[in-house]
């Protein structure tokens, strides 16, 4: 501070002695202190741990060789008469290192001879640190800007770049350089639009956006320029390449054009499956307008009771897996119309590979589906008819046998008997023949009656059903067979607690119980006391009757195939007519049930009657 030395001495002295004043000291040509401020004295104490005094050689006081030689160099330079400023760091290398701005200058006597030097020191440590932080911060900002694909610069009202921050898309817009004009890199019409926007942005201090196309290297690219007011003469500008975005927008536009005019329903949803757009075809089929469905999920209001859950779940899984999805299911229109819809959909991805939308085309296939269902039903019906026919055919065959044997046989006998009647005059013989004729005719009549009963079962159109109690029915049948039970001394027990009631034909149930009980009594074993047990159970939601006895039993390997046939008897019993089992089998089957037998010869027999899944039972 050369000027300070020309000021009055007391002023100088005040500066030197002020405890928190400036750091200032002066040395003579031998580097010995000629004056120093109090602050310098305390700093020397702090840094080098020395108490300085006038006349001390300062170089001797600096405890670091490098610092000492640096200081000597500067002192000598000042002693040559030069004024200069040096930013230096002094202090212990490991700590207390401090930045100083040292202003050196020579001290001259009145005649201009250099007699020493003065040093005025400003501590700029904080300044240095702030500067460093700023540099770091700017570096960080730069690196961020470099990553941004946008072009960012400042531009003034004249269209001149005042600062370029990021030049990522430079190649597409020319080379913006500070001081250049935008007219150099842009077509003139676009440059005009830029200038208009910049002016408006600065004048109104408002954000401006323009979109433009640039044709370079045979390709059209889309850009968006945003202008943000920076100050009264400059605007911050961000230019973004929007080519891909435009392209997908255009694709979507094209799709929506197709969608708008197709007769099918088209649904576009967001990535959550919420409707963003539907076409007129959708409204035509579902009766819902776009306004009514926007933001809703299609499944929430289109599906209902008859919507196939398997198909729906499969499609939801496909959507969840971000796959294309398809299926056919029942939907419901706003007015409740039920229709079949075929859905073909796919996810729409953005550039980052994320699903942003779903696009689905839906066509109504009600007519085809109904035809399919009808066909299936017809097929099922046909199968049922075929099965029925097969059964009828079997029954017919059975009938043929019945007719051939049970009718042909007595009729043949009658013919032969009449032949013999004509061939004899003997009264006794004639009487015998007539007796045979009578027996044969009553047998024929009985057979006719039985066949009639069977026919009634087989061709009964409507069988009256009632809720019946097994116990009541069984007690009645027991009463009817009381004589036989007493004759055979049989133990007849029952347990109908597991299925107490049944909705069934009362005539058939009575016939079933009666035939099974009388059979069990008829074919009881003479070797032991007959034990007969009736019991109901429920198996797979069906009432089942079990009738077991310890009677003669039957060799099923031998007679199994004939057990339920008409006129098949397996024991030489005088009352065996071979009608009962044939009859009840027909009754049970006519109502959709089954009857099966298990038996061991000379051990006993169990009949199992399954009344059919369609019959109601009660506990």
């Amino acid at each position: 501070m050369d000027l300070a030395l020309n000021h009055p001495i007391d002023f100088l002295h005040a500066i030197l002695e002020s405890p928190k004043g400036m750091v200032i000291f002066a040395l003579d040509k031998n580097y010995q202190y000629s004056s120093f401020s109090e602050t310098h004295r305390s700093i020397m104490k702090t840094i080098w741990g020395v108490d300085i005094a006038l006349g001390m050689n300062m170089l001797d006081l600096i405890g670091n060789d490098d610092d000492r030689s640096k200081a000597k160099h500067n002192f000598d330079k000042a002693l040559t008469g030069e004024y200069f400023t040096v930013v230096e760091e002094y202090g212990d290398v490991t700590h207390l290192r401090t930045s100083y701005e040292n202003r050196y200058g020579p001290v001259t006597d009145k005649s201009g001879n250099i007699i020493g030097l003065s040093v005025f020191v400003i501590d700029i440590t904080e300044l240095k640190q702030a500067e460093h932080a700023l540099k770091e911060s700017e570096k960080r900002l730069r690196s961020v800007l470099n990553v941004i694909p946008d072009l960012i610069f400042k531009i003034n009202l004249q269209g001149v770049y005042t600062e370029v921050f990021s030049d990522a898309t430079t190649s597409q817009i020319g080379l913006p350089q500070t001081g250049n004009s935008i007219t150099e890199g842009l077509d003139s019409d676009i440059a005009d639009r830029f200038l208009t926007a910049i002016k408006y942005c600065i004048a109104n201090q408002a954000l401006q956006t323009i979109e433009y196309e640039s044709f370079k290297n045979n390709t059209v690219r889309n850009y968006e320029a945003r202008f943000v007011p920076f100050n009264n003469s400059e605007a911050l500008t961000v230019i973004r390449d929007t080519t891909h975005q435009k392209k997908s927008e255009l694709e979507l536009l094209k799709l929506s054009l197709i969608a708008r005019y197709t007769s099918n329903a088209v649904v576009i949803t967001d990535s959550d499956g919420r409707i963003e757009w539907v076409n007129e075809g959708f409204t035509r089929i579902t009766e819902y307008t776009l306004q009514e469905v926007i933001g809703k999920k299609p499944g929430e209001f289109l599906q209902g009771a008859h919507t196939n859950k398997d198909v729906r779940n499969r499609m939801q899984q496909q959507i969840h897996n971000k796959e294309s999805f398809n299926g056919e299911l029942v939907n419901y229109s706003k007015s409740g119309r039920q229709y079949w819809i075929q859905i073909n959909g796919q996810p729409i991805y953005n550039e980052a590979g994320e699903v942003t939308k779903y696009f689905a085309i839906e066509s109504e296939v009600t007519q085809r589906k109904l035809a399919e269902i009808k066909l299936q039903e017809q097929n099922t019906r046909l199968t049922a008819i075929t099965e029925n026919l097969t059964r009828k055919n079997e029954q017919l065959e059975e009938f043929t046998q019945i007719v051939s044997h049970n009718l042909r046989s007595p009729i043949g006998n009658i013919g032969a008997l009449l032949e013999h009647l004509n061939g004899t005059e003997d009264e006794a013989e004639r009487n015998e023949i007539i007796n045979h004729l009578k027996n044969t005719s009553s047998l024929l009549m009985l057979t006719m009656q039985e066949l009639n009963e069977v026919l009634k079962i087989k061709y009964a159109g409507h069988i009256v059903k009632e809720k019946l109690s097994f116990q009541t029915m069984f007690d009645k049948v027991r009463q009817m067979l009381l004589v036989q039970i007493n004759q055979t001394n049989a133990s007849v027990t029952s347990n109908f607690t597991r299925a107490a009631t049944l909705v069934y034909s009362p005539i058939y149930l009575e016939s079933i119980l009666l035939n099974l009980l009388s059979n069990a009594l008829k074919y009881s074993s003479p070797k032991r006391k007959p034990i007969i047990h009736f019991e109901t159970q429920i198996k797979e939601n069906t009432a089942v009757l079990l009738v077991s006895d310890n009677g003669m039993g039957i060799d099923l390997n031998r007679y199994g195939h004939q057990i339920f046939k008409l006129r098949k008897t397996f024991h030489p019993h005088p009352e065996s007519r071979g009608v009962g089992l044939f009859m009840i089998k027909n009754q049970i089957e006519a109502l959709g049930g089954t009857i099966t037998i298990t038996s061991q010869a000379d051990e006993g027999t169990t009949f199992t009657i399954n009344f059919g899944a369609n019959e109601n039972y009660g506990g």
Binding site: E397, G412, N413, L417, E419, G423, H436, H571, G578
Partner: protein, 141 residues
């Protein structure tokens, strides 16, 4: 025609048929013997008991198909099991009212059966059956 006396077994549970058949056979010339069995079981028992005694065995056996307990087919099964021990060649005819094709075919395939005769059987038919050169297939079917 000169008939040698024959022994004829009738196996049928229908007593009217037995009556008619007996009368028809008796009306024919020759001292024919008639064995009546009202069940397959009875017939089987008789044949087993008299298997070694040719004088007691029938020359001809008329077999009904539809009988309780042991029907015609079961009788044939059991008979083929003892056939080798039976001391006489017995000509077996099925006599049935069944017009079931299955029964007729089954009878034709059984080598133990001479013929299948459908009921009713006329007196002339019996004559033909018992003629000495019989034992061959007739044109009944």
């Amino acid at each position: 025609m000169e008939d040698k006396a024959k022994c004829i077994a009738v196996v049928d549970d229908d007593d009217t048929f037995q009556f008619i058949t007996s009368r028809a056979i008796r009306s024919l010339s020759g001292e024919n013997t008639i064995l009546q069995f009202f069940s397959g079981v009875d017939a089987m028992q008789y044949l087993s008991e008299n298997a070694l005694n040719p004088d007691m065995l029938p020359d001809v056996l008329l077999l009904d198909l539809n009988m309780p307990v042991l029907d015609g087919w079961m009788f044939l099964e059991e008979f083929s099991a003892i056939k080798k021990t039976v001391a006489k060649e017995i000509s077996i005819f099925i006599v049935s009212s069944s017009i079931d094709r299955n029964d007729i075919d089954r009878a034709r395939q059984n080598k133990n059966i001479i013929d299948y005769i459908m009921k009713p059987v006329t007196v002339d038919k019996f004559k033909e059956l018992l003629s000495p050169d019989k034992g061959l297939r007739s044109s009944t079917l």
